[in-house]
Amino acid sequence: MSSIAKKENLVYQKPALRTEKPYHYCPGCGHGVVHNVILEVLEEMGLQDKAIGIAPVGCAVLAYDYLNIDMQQAAHGRAPALASAVSRMMPDKAVFTYQGDGDLAAIGTAETIHACNRGENIVIFFVNNGIYGMTGGQMAPTTLPGMTSSTSPHGRDVKTMGGPMKITEMVAQLDGVYMCTRQSVHTPGNVRKLKKAIRQAFENQQNHKGLSFIEIVSNCNSGWKMTPLASNKWMEENMFPVYPLGDIKVDGKLVK
């Protein structure tokens, strides 16, 4: 049969706003999918020249090597503070942060909560994989009860270590947060839902509605010591009951 692989039949290819540099992420890690979808939305909305991303400390520290847009890199946890400054200096830019759970919900908790409370006109992407991926799988505030990590080898003991922090539900309570949702990227349907949410978030941002907060529950298959497919299954069975997917705040109103 003759090939249909011609330009006029093209329906999907690597996002145009991605650089040529291959991701350094582990095979099957959700970070790559989240990057891809953000770039697709920025391209479709014509925001390449307006976008300014703030990279975190964590596995995504090198995001600026992959996203062919203007980027800065913040000290650990300080991305929302830097994004606040950038967005106030240049209010028409599409400013966003990209952060892991160690970055956003541990060392950067104060910056996160106060940027949300001030209702900075930015988008926050929060990739929650339940541990510190980059540094070898240490326990994070988001680690599940009983979950083993390199610093909770016998499992997280809630009595002495606290329980999983649902920072997304927490910030949803703040008036400055206009949109708040929790998504995932492990199936095609979930990727499409995330894409819709990202588009909504950047529309909010372009309309100066305040802060849009998107959590993506994702795997850290290396840190969890599982294959990518096993980690996605484990995530469905263990992460989603604690971090249920779906919208929490829509158009400034709590829906959950």
């Binding site: 049969m1 090939s3 249909i4 692989a5 011609k6 039949n9 093209l10 329906v11 999907y12 290819q13 690597k14 996002p15 991605r18 291959p22 991701y23 992420y25 095979p27 099957g28 890690c29 959700g30 970070h31 790559g32 999918v33 891809n36 979808v37 990227v185 492990h186 199936t187 095609p188 990727v191 499409r192 294959t227 990518p228 497919l229 996605n232």
Partner: protein, 75 residues
């Protein structure tokens, strides 16, 4: 009703063999090579080209975006 035929091209040297694409395909089109690429990964291959409808499900879940998808109407 119009029918669609799809075709995917996998950049096998950039594939990391993570296998996330395989269950994303409802038609079981994707398998994995017993051979490895230069990075040492058993890369993905389109095993059932005739079953592909070009839905791009495999491609959008590929973290490395190494799958390019084409789709054409067939009479």
């Amino acid at each position: 009703m119009a029918k669609f035929k799809g075709e995917i091209i996998i950049d096998v040297e950039k594939c990391k063999g993570c296998q996330v694409c395989a269950p994303a395909c409802s038609f079981g089109c994707i398998g994995f090579s017993p051979k490895v690429n230069a990075k040492g990964y058993n890369y993905a291959v389109l095993e059932k080209p005739d079953a592909c409808i070009g839905c791009a499900n495999c491609a959008i879940v590929c973290p490395d975006a190494v799958i390019t998808v084409y789709k054409a109407k067939v009479e």
